[in-house]
């Protein structure tokens, strides 16, 4: 199947197999997967634990090479290196503890040998945008987990990525902070125009934030459903009270329940209703 003309990211028949060691068999982690992500879309990927979501993100980011199949970013094949224009926010705290918040955010720009005035302008804007202006001189050890994740997001945003990949970035945060960070993510998505791909295990988060939610099977992860939400572009966490939010979440769970049981090694108690 030829890549869709509008797709910014296109995966065709992508699989990932980790070779076994010391007599253990190979692990088929992912695929085959076909996926087109349109420029400017907000796409979430949900699936049971261990289904290969993070492996998919690694392949999308160019951090890991697919065993078979192809990945194209803006029409160019991606192989063995992270393409320019892709930003990644990881689940783990990746803030540099030896640098102040300001130096953390400026890190990538300085490595690119950008002029000092332009660096200051972009860093000031990113700090203000992420609500970190008052913490510019603080060090990560002085900040909460949520604030440190904001630093990582700001450090990624100053590089003005065309695609923002997020691997369960709010996984370590409490529910209230997650909802508010979700609102921030929607704001970032609207104001930067970047394409956002969010890997998450939280169905409500996926249903609330995304234009499309891709539902993955238990390992080896394949897409078993792509749910289109039809939310307006101007949206925030208050849509959790919209009846359609409940319907979307229910549909996601309906698809995922059997897969989650399978991932836990338990047989699904009832046949798929569809």
């Amino acid at each position: 199947m030829a890549a869709s003309r509008n797709a910014q990211i296109s995966l065709r028949g992508v699989t990932k197999v980790f070779p076994g060691h010391d007599g253990h068999p190979d692990v088929h982690a992912l695929g085959p997967i076909d996926l087109d992500i349109a420029r400017g879309a907000f796409v979430s990927v949900v699936g049971p634990s261990g289904c290969g979501k993070s492996t998919l993100l690694d392949v999308l980011a160019g951090l890991s090479v697919a065993t078979s199949g192809g990945l194209a970013f803006e029409g160019e094949a991606v192989a063995g290196r992270v393409p320019d224009g892709i930003g990644v926010v990881f689940q783990q705290d990746a803030s540099f503890f030896w640098l102040s918040v300001r130096d953390n955010v400026a890190f990538g720009l300085r490595r690119r040998r950008m002029g000092a005035a332009e660096i200051d302008r972009r860093v000031d804007a990113a700090l203000a945008f992420m609500g970190l202006a008052d913490f510019a001189k603080a060090f990560p050890a002085q900040l909460s987990g949520g604030m440190r994740q904001r630093v990582c997001i700001a450090r990624t945003l100053v590089l003005e990525p065309k695609v923002l990949l997020l691997d369960e970035p709010f996984g370590a945060l409490d529910q209230q902070t997650r909802l508010l960070m979700g609102d921030e993510l929607l704001r970032i998505w609207r104001e930067t125009g970047a394409t956002v791909v969010l890997i998450t295990h939280a169905l409500d988060e996926a249903a609330m934030l995304s234009d499309q939610v891709a539902v993955m099977s238990a390992r080896p992860g394949r897409f078993i459903d792509i749910v289109t939400t039809d939310w307006p572009r101007e949206r925030d966490s208050t849509i959790v009270s919209d009846p359609r939010f409940g319907a979307i979440t229910a549909r996601l769970w309906d698809k995922l329940r059997g897969e989650s049981l399978r991932a836990m090694g338990v047989a699904a108690p009832q046949p798929d209703r569809q």
């Binding site: 951090l63 992270v82 930003g87 990881f90 990746a94 540099f96 890190f107 990538g108 990560p140």
Partner: protein, 245 residues
């Protein structure tokens, strides 16, 4: 911070009080009083002989520390970056670290003689292994997410090593240096106690020979103050590397 300082003062006062009680209990022939010791220490630091010994110890300790740090960090970096070599060396280093070095002292004396080089060598073998072990583990334990961040920022191997791996590993390396330097001082002093012609360890053993109790305690107190100061300075550097600023 003030509460912590108060704790330090209370701890020092408590130790002094305990020292005084022990002095009363066992008498001045075994333990001189804190005040008599401080007075004796003050007299000692006014003599040229003391500073001659202190300079001998400082030279041996300083050189031993430099060699232990340079060789320990280099060895640890090499083993940390080469996983297979590290896996092989890990138990060997652990064994060398735990071997009572005093058993090697006759060999050191045979190899280096009675001079300053034997003291330096004995200091180095005390400090080298903990520094190498800490450095190796520091490199191995850098959070994988930092490496992945470097890849996403499209940094080359040199830039990754210099701007991410090195500062990320630095606090653990400094913790190893702090422990290694303390053990290097121990090794240097042991070397002076057993076979030397100068140094504070030598002065201590000579004071023991003539049963100069106040001298023994005064020299011990001065060595203790020096070791505590070195440890405090290195601890401060380590904390700054760990928490930034």
């Amino acid at each position: 911070m003030t509460a912590r300082r108060l704790d330090h003062v209370l701890l020092a006062a408590g130790l002094l009080a305990l020292w005084q009680v022990v002095h009363w209990a066992v008498g001045p022939d075994v333990v001189s009083s804190p005040w008599a010791t401080i007075v004796r220490a003050w007299q000692l630091i006014g003599t040229a002989a003391f500073w001659g010994h202190a300079a001998a110890t400082a030279t041996a300790f300083g050189l031993a520390s430099l060699i232990a740090i340079a060789a320990g960090v280099a060895l640890g970096l090499w083993l940390g970056l080469r996983r297979f070599a590290g896996d092989v060396a890990d138990p060997v280093l652990g064994t060398l670290y735990s071997v009572p070095k005093i058993t090697l002292y006759p060999l050191i004396l045979l190899a280096f003689g009675l001079g300053v080089s034997a003291k330096i060598a004995f200091g180095v073998i005390h400090g080298l292994f903990p520094i190498a072990i800490f450095t190796m583990n520091a490199i191995r334990n850098v959070a994988p997410v930092f490496r992945r961040t470097a890849l996403v920022m499209r940094l080359g191997p040199l830039a990754t090593a210099a701007t991410i791996m090195a500062p990320a590993a630095l606090p653990e390396i400094l913790a190893g240096i702090r422990i290694g330097v303390a053990l290097t001082l121990l090794g240097t002093l042991i070397g002076e106690l057993f076979a030397a012609t100068s140094g504070l360890g030598f002065a201590l053993i000579r004071a023991m020979d003539v049963h100069a109790v106040a001298d023994i305690l005064a020299i011990t107190m001065l060595i203790f103050m020096f070791a505590a100061s070195v440890n405090a300075i290195l601890g401060l550097i380590e904390r700054r590397a760990r928490h930034g600023g």
